[in-house]
């Protein structure tokens, strides 16, 4: 078995509290050792990091795929290319695909599709309700047994308070989180942008920002009632974050993530009818963007995800209200998150924690660590190297990035999956 020795790297492993210059040795697909003066085993391949950061492969806890059913948008294989470019080695995949992931066989299928790529672990979410229709519970126990990491209806909110109560209660038996897209459907119906001055000027139907906090407030109370664990996905408003902080202080099992657009862009990105910046939930006012950025640093937000949502050109080349919502994010997740570090509001270890250890812990997946004996999923990146996002020339199939034209600092040099190099070099 060949060994790989990383030299002159900044070892950054928030899970193990490690942030120091050193070396790391990979042997037999796992991390054999790290530290200084490891020596060079005979025949070892040496990767000279020249001071770059070596951290665990990123874990992206919110990814939509085209598979199964919309392979013209994205396949697991094409998503794997984009992920490797972005230093991501594990993704949690949403179940509200054309064929909802509400059957144990589909969970196993998605896991297997990931393994076939050789570069990306697919961690499927199970559908919370049959067909993600929000009517009755899916077979949570069987889905969990097949390998579902948590339960959600993806981009659809569980509207019924009674059903959410049942879900939070029942999922406890299987030790799984319920992941909620917090947006009151009756307030959001038909909306295309956050309600406010900009939507008014553009004549677009608005969604009031409180549509999020209303569901967050309700579900926190249901978590208290049931003792269940609720996770709010892609949180975007100051008001929701206030509620979540309070719930955490109370000791409830409440967690949340946000997605990179919500701390990097505000609603003005949709000016000139830019449908690539049409997302769900919609981009918010600048004050909310600032609140999300602040919550990254203070811990109210547990993890950062890409919220990758592949769309093809025909989904987006439409009048704004008719265009599909969603943006790609795998290739830009690290760079956009590092922009917060370069901006001075966030420490690099905290940023990497939210991209590795934190999502792995929330998903109960054995990734996001440089511990000895762990699978050698690694990301080597230069936090200073500059590049520009250009829709049309990103890796993978889908090109609908909301960050088109954005200059970023921080680029992946290499990605390794179970000790094998899958990007760079």
């Amino acid at each position: 078995m060949t060994d790989t020795l990383f030299t002159r790297v900044r070892l950054l492993d928030p899970a193990g509290g490690l942030d120091a210059p050193g070396e790391l040795l990979v042997r037999d697909r796992v991390i054999a050792d790290h530290g200084t003066g490891l020596g060079r085993p005979d025949g070892a391949e040496v990767i000279d990091g020249s001071g770059a950061v070596l951290c665990p492969g990123l874990v992206d806890m919110r990814v939509g795929l085209g598979e199964p059913g919309d392979e013209h948008r994205e396949t697991v294989a094409s998503a794997a290319e984009a992920a490797a470019f972005g230093g991501i080695t594990a993704i949690a995949v949403l179940p509200d695909s054309r064929r909802a992931i509400d059957d144990p066989a589909l969970v196993r299928l998605l896991r297997a599709r990931g393994e076939e790529t050789g570069s990306l672990t697919v961690l499927p979410y199970g559908a919370l309700t049959r067909g993600c229709r929000g009517e009755d519970l899916a077979e949570l126990g069987l889905l969990r047994e097949a390998g579902a990491v948590a339960f959600t209806d993806g981009g659809r909110a569980v509207a019924s308070a009674r059903l959410m109560r049942l879900a939070l209660s029942y999922a406890r038996a299987f030790g799984a989180r319920v992941v909620q897209h917090a947006e009151d459907p009756s307030l959001a119906a038909g909306g295309a942008a956050t309600e406010g001055e900009l939507a008014t000027r553009l004549g677009l139907p608005g969604i009031p920002a409180v549509a999020e906090a209303i569901i967050v407030a309700r579900d926190i109370r249901l978590a208290r009632l049931t003792g269940g664990a609720v996770h709010f996905a892609h949180v975007t408003t100051a008001e929701s974050l206030t509620l979540i902080r309070r719930a955490k202080d109370e000791g409830l099992s409440v967690t949340c993530d946000t997605a990179s657009p919500y701390f990097d862009l505000n609603e003005t990105a949709i000016g000139d009818w830019r449908t690539y910046a049409k997302l769900s939930p919609p981009l918010r006012a600048e004050s909310d963007r600032q609140a999300v950025a602040a919550a990254l640093a203070d811990g109210a937000i547990d993890a950062v995800a890409s919220d990758h949502a592949p769309r093809d050109a025909d989904d987006k080349r439409l009048p704004f209200a008719q265009a599909a919502a969603g943006g790609t994010g795998l290739a830009t997740l690290l760079g956009v998150t590092l922009a917060q570090v370069h901006g001075g509001g966030l420490s690099l270890p905290r940023a990497i924690e939210m991209l590795t250890a934190a999502p792995a812990r929330l998903l109960g997946a054995p990734f996001g660590t440089l511990a000895k004996g762990a699978q050698a999923d690694l990301c080597l990146f230069d936090p200073e190297r500059a590049w520009r996002v250009a829709a049309g020339s990103l890796p993978g199939k889908a090109q609908n990035t909301p960050f088109d034209g954005r200059a970023l600092e921080g680029r992946v040099i290499g990605t390794w999956k179970a000790g094998r190099r899958v990007f760079g070099g």
Binding site: G203, L204, L318
Partner: protein, 302 residues
């Protein structure tokens, strides 16, 4: 000026120049001596994805009075996916080398999307709940001809502001030209953050119309009733319909305007709509042709 997609963003001199040019066409239209060689050899296509006889006819007449070849295309509103139709139609039209493209569409931003894909000058003839620039220009011309100026006039725009592209274009134009604009309507028909557009918002006609120089009524679309935004027509008319009693709150000689088509007995009483001296609703239609002639000319470099 390459296209006319919105009033928002237009500078006062550009608006004034259009109004001045339109003013000259009013006189020429009345005398029947319009310059029919002005747009000779140019092709104007009226591309309507939404039915509108009056706006389409007005553009058609404007184009013909300047000598353009005018073609009307009405794309069925019942198409399964209007968006796809829009893009398909775009590439077809671009191949026909048309010079001026007048677009009406039910979706906000559709003319802007189209403008990025065609070589012709695009004129927004109403897009969703976004803008209706030529309506605002013709309203401004009508007011200016009666009051001499737009500056410092109090203009009350009343009714369903939320869904009105006419209201948005008028707000932008009138505030840009120095008028004081008030929006009057029930809170459920008022867009969010409306006051951020530089207007004052009122929810009752008595205070909203007080001392107004112009009262501009908007059409209440019947389907809004289905959305539950107002409980009933009779309640709407009682509180927001313009009758002689409510008109009395405005200045004694206040102008009465409506972009048409009117719902008599819903947002406006017939006695007001047909008022012999104060209603300028029919004159608005006349100004529409002149304004559209001015727009077509401005967008057609010699």
């Amino acid at each position: 000026m390459r296209h006319l997609l919105a009033i928002e963003g237009m500078a006062p001199p550009a608006i004034a120049a259009l109004l001045d040019l339109a003013e000259s066409y009013v006189l020429l239209n009345r005398s029947g001596k319009t310059p029919r060689d002005r747009l000779r050899g140019r092709t104007l296509i009226n591309l309507f994805f939404e039915d509108s006889t009056r706006t389409r006819t007005s553009f058609e007449l404007a184009g013909k009075r300047l000598g353009a070849d005018v073609i009307n295309m009405t794309v069925s509103a019942s198409s399964v996916n209007k968006g796809e139709t829009l893009l398909d139609t775009t590439s077809t039209l671009n191949a026909m080398n048309c010079d001026l493209l007048v677009v009406r569409h039910a979706q906000s931003g559709a003319p802007a999307l189209l403008a990025r894909k065609v070589d012709a000058a695009v004129i927004n003839a109403g897009d969703g709940t976004h803008e209706h620039p030529t309506q605002a220009l013709l309203d401004a011309l009508t007011i200016r001809r009666h009051r001499g100026t737009l500056e410092n006039l109090i203009v009350a725009i009343c009714g369903d502001i939320l869904h009105s592209r006419v209201a948005r274009s008028n707000v932008h134009l009138l505030t840009t030209m120095g008028a004081c604009v008030r929006l009057v309507g029930p809170p459920t028909l008022m867009p969010a953050a409306a006051e951020r557009l530089g207007v004052v918002v009122f929810h009752d006609m008595a205070t909203g119309l007080a001392d107004a120089d112009v009262v501009m009524m908007l059409r209440l679309q019947q389907e809004r009733m289905a959305g539950g935004l107002v409980p009933s027509v009779r309640e709407y008319f009682r509180f927001y319909g313009l009758d002689m009693a409510k008109l009395a709150f405005a200045k004694p000689e206040a102008l009465i305007m409506h972009p048409g088509p009117m719902n008599r007995g819903v947002e406006i009483d017939s006695a007001v709509a047909d008022h012999p001296t104060r209603s300028v609703i029919r004159e608005q239609v006349e100004m529409g042709v002149a304004v559209r002639m001015a727009v077509l000319e401005m967008l057609s470099p010699r």
